[in-house]
Symmetry: C2
Subunit: 518 residues, 2 copies
């Protein structure tokens, strides 16, 4: 049957099928209720695994063959090595050499270091990518060159999709900085240490076959066992799983841009005046330059007021680790470590806790902790006058970013987007965003260098800030100010071809990305 | 259809149905291969849980009502509080007062402190117990007074049964020494600290509704989160979940019996002479008086030889913790802490690792670590001349013990049963055991105060010990020696009524227990 387009709850036309699979249009926050049961993996038996626990296989190729690699399979990887990953490319190089076709690559995110996948997509080895497509892979998709439709999910949405059986992983390959022959693995030890392996948790739990690849094989037991060997089929030792300096940059920098610093300061002042920073509060600041600066301002406010945060949500870096060690935050609940201080702290400090998309973000669980956070600082490429926001496409229409945990974090109590009013003389606040990634009702405050807009739904905040000296404006005022300076942005020209779908946290389709007319 | 009796692979007649549910007779070690899929719990949605993470309900009764408590449900509890548990009784008292009938109680083990359940069984509130029945509850069952048939499983078998959907838990109640309002819970903190909550892992993952009950409610995040709040429906704060001095006795004592000490010494000597104690080896000693003494002998041998163990498997106590702190063992992989030193060590020492039946024992996983252990010390109530052993019934026929992890541990590389040749002048080594809990092919060495028998299957060990001065004998010789002293044991008189089934680690039925003729 032909694909039908249906208008969803944010007014976007989305297809009823993607890559031949039936999908549900977005129905609104909390409106779609799942009725089925979780995906049920096959029951294994210890009788089929070596009794002495030694699951070593000599090469990745042999492991892939043992796992039954064949045309059309879904192969998953994780992105804890970020732009230093070496393993994803290896997998598809092997598949390509074996003449395998039409694989679905299901990474937790993809990075520019995986640009080589374009060759495998052109050759037919990879049919399409289900997952974030940062940089060159996104551009390739936006040019309409990918065979299938890309599917972008948040970190929590990826867990949800695997748990619910929307994506069935045939073979998961988990690159691990340290592992034992039984398959227990962690990210805190070894020369490729990346901190944790939470993005691979769903893959380990639900994939049919699971391969652990490591460059640091240790005797059983590999402790901590962030990934349990009880889920693992094969273990492979290779020379190198990642390039350490690209895994942890060690160069996370506070912004030096006066505009960005101003935005950071306004954000912190807003939070203080609105009394969001109080003893026992919690926050997620993020790792970008502006966000880092906001975290530092938060630290100053806490010291001045003599209060502490119950916990902070990471992505962690040395600044957040300093705050933990100073006692300003009780715990770091961390999804990924961005530098070596983060890795060290997670390894050594029991208050620096490794989390997974299951604990933090999965919307199809019995709650998750995203909603517990008091202050959540996020970014956006565009925001519209209804506070809907975009994080995946640029204002030129190209798909250049993944969703990350962004959608999941929108459930925090006070969601703040500190963003510049324009980028490269293109307004960031617009009548309509190119792609809706998150509905405006979940976004509370927009902070720009020229003013702060509070979502009209947040009457409590508007009342509280009534007498503030901060530049509180309406979002329309901010939009008009941007347009006065930069002019009204030109509409992007798209073709009809859908090149990617954006899933909401519950698996429904909130928007699509179309091929850019070049 | 009527229940049929079928002879299984160890020659025992077992039924094809238990409590109306079809079962598979034991087929031999590793012979039964599961073909289905794991149990698939319903997909939940965060939309149905409080966004701020607060799942508190005022009373256990209200939580049970919210969870939909009704006739015929299966209700699970864990036994980390051992004989100090207060919560299981509360649940069935409430159910009894509400007039609920025919519940199945599915504890990970039951203890004498739960003797009160007899009243609820008599009243029809509880239909039967699926789980270990120690002491009075076992006696009640053995007298044929329980309405349904009891089902005894090992710790690993319990995980397997839940994972595979053989037992579907309607409501799990997880008593926790510490928890937060989101349902994250641990056993290392609080006045009822029991170390860990691993026996409740399967319950949290697979039960339809899960209630956490705690007497130490802390603000989110409860770290470590041994049980994830993402699996929890309701949280209840009560005054007391357990009696601390009965949870951890603090009085684990080395045996003072000269016979037992002799057995311990012989066991250690055997292990040394057979070169089982070598650098990087692993062992599980257990917590009984004899086992404790064996552990201490192991420590002496390691110190003398200047070697260390890669890891020891707990049940932990101060003696094992001392060995960890001394550096004699690299890690303790612990299933339950038996004293306050164990609790403290698990809380503070990252090398003291909490495990669950999933990681350690589940036979329907992709391996488990029971098979990795070099030396496993276990007990038995009876052993037969084919090395088959019994741990659940006494030689008077009464069901008085649970299986614990015993069956699971049989997969270790060298399984040793240090046992007295007779107890109360009744021989322990016999022509046939009353109840077969483990097949003889997995049991390697029997050590008694009057001699050591090596399983004829272990030609390697027999060869290695050929010139030993230790009293190596055949198991027939040991049996005859016991009978010379005590006389041939009298056969027990049973009625035909099956009162309990003994499951093997793969869910098949290895034996049954019948009603004792009184």
């Amino acid at each position: 049957m032909a694909t039908k387009l249906i208008k969803n709850a944010v007014g976007r036309m989305v297809p009823d099928k993607i890559n031949g699979q039936k999908v549900t249009p977005y129905k609104g926050v909390g409106k779609y209720r799942p009725t089925g049961r979780k995906f049920a993996p096959k029951i294994a038996s210890c009788a089929d695994y070596p009794l002495d626990g030694n699951k070593l296989v000599p090469t990745l190729k042999k492991a892939l063959i043992k796992a039954g690699l064949k045309d059309g399979m879904t192969i998953s990887t994780h992105h804890h090595f970020r732009n230093g990953d070496l393993v994803a490319n290896m997998i598809f190089k092997i598949a390509h050499e074996m003449g395998i076709k039409d694989l679905v690559w299901f990474p937790s995110a993809s990075f520019p270091c995986q640009e080589g996948m374009i060759e495998y997509m052109k050759a037919g080895t990879i049919h399409h990518i289900e997952g974030s497509m940062n940089g060159p892979l996104g551009k390739f998709a936006s040019q309409g060159k990918m065979k299938g439709v890309g599917v972008l999910r948040s970190h929590g949405g990826r867990y949800q999709a695997v748990q619910d059986g929307e994506v069935q992983i045939d073979i998961a390959v988990i690159a691990a900085p340290t592992a034992d022959p039984f398959g227990n693995a962690n990210g805190v030890n070894g020369s490729s240490a990346c901190g944790l392996l939470g993005f691979a948790l769903a893959d380990s739990q639900y994939a049919d076959k699971v391969i652990v690849v490591t460059d640091n094989l240790v005797p059983f037991p590999c402790i901590p066992w962030q990934i349990h060997g009880n889920y693992i089929d094969y273990v492979v030792k290779i020379d190198q799983v990642g390039i350490p300096e690209k895994i942890v940059s060690g160069t996370t920098q506070i912004t030096k841009s006066p505009d960005r610093l101003h935005i950071a300061e306004l954000t912190a002042q807003f939070c203080e005046e609105a009394e969001l920073i109080k003893d026992g509060f919690s926050f997620q600041a993020g790792a970008g330059g502006t966000a880092l600066s906001i975290g530092i301002y938060f630290g100053e406010i806490m010291r001045r007021k003599g209060i502490k945060a119950a916990f902070a949500r990471g992505g962690s870096n040395k600044y957040l680790v300093d705050m933990l060690e100073e006692g300003l935050v009780g715990y770091i609940l961390d999804g990924q470590t961005f530098d070596l201080d983060g890795v060290r702290s997670m390894r050594d400090n029991p208050r620096h806790v490794n989390t997974s998309p299951f604990t933090s973000y999965n919307y199809h669980g019995k709650g998750n902790f995203a909603g517990i956070l008091d202050i959540v600082i996020l970014g956006a490429t565009e925001v519209d006058v209804n506070f809907n926001a975009n994080v995946v496409t640029h204002s030129d229409g190209y798909l250049l970013h993944g969703i990350g945990g962004w959608q999941n974090c929108l459930f925090g109590k006070n969601v703040i987007l500190p963003i510049p009013l324009f980028r490269d003389r293109i307004p960031v606040i617009r009548d309509e965003v190119t792609t809706i990634c998150g509905p405006g009702e979940l976004i509370d405050i927009i902070v720009t260098e020229r003013g702060i807009a509070i979502n009209p739904l947040r009457k409590d905040l508007i009342k509280k800030m009534k007498n503030s000296k901060l530049p509180i404006k309406t979002i329309q005022e901010l939009k008009e100010e941007a347009e006065r300076i930069c002019g009204k942005p030109k509409a992007i020209e798209f073709e009809e071809k859908i090149i990617a779908a954006i899933k909401w946290v519950d698996g429904t389709v909130i928007d699509v990305v179309k091929k850019v007319k070049e």
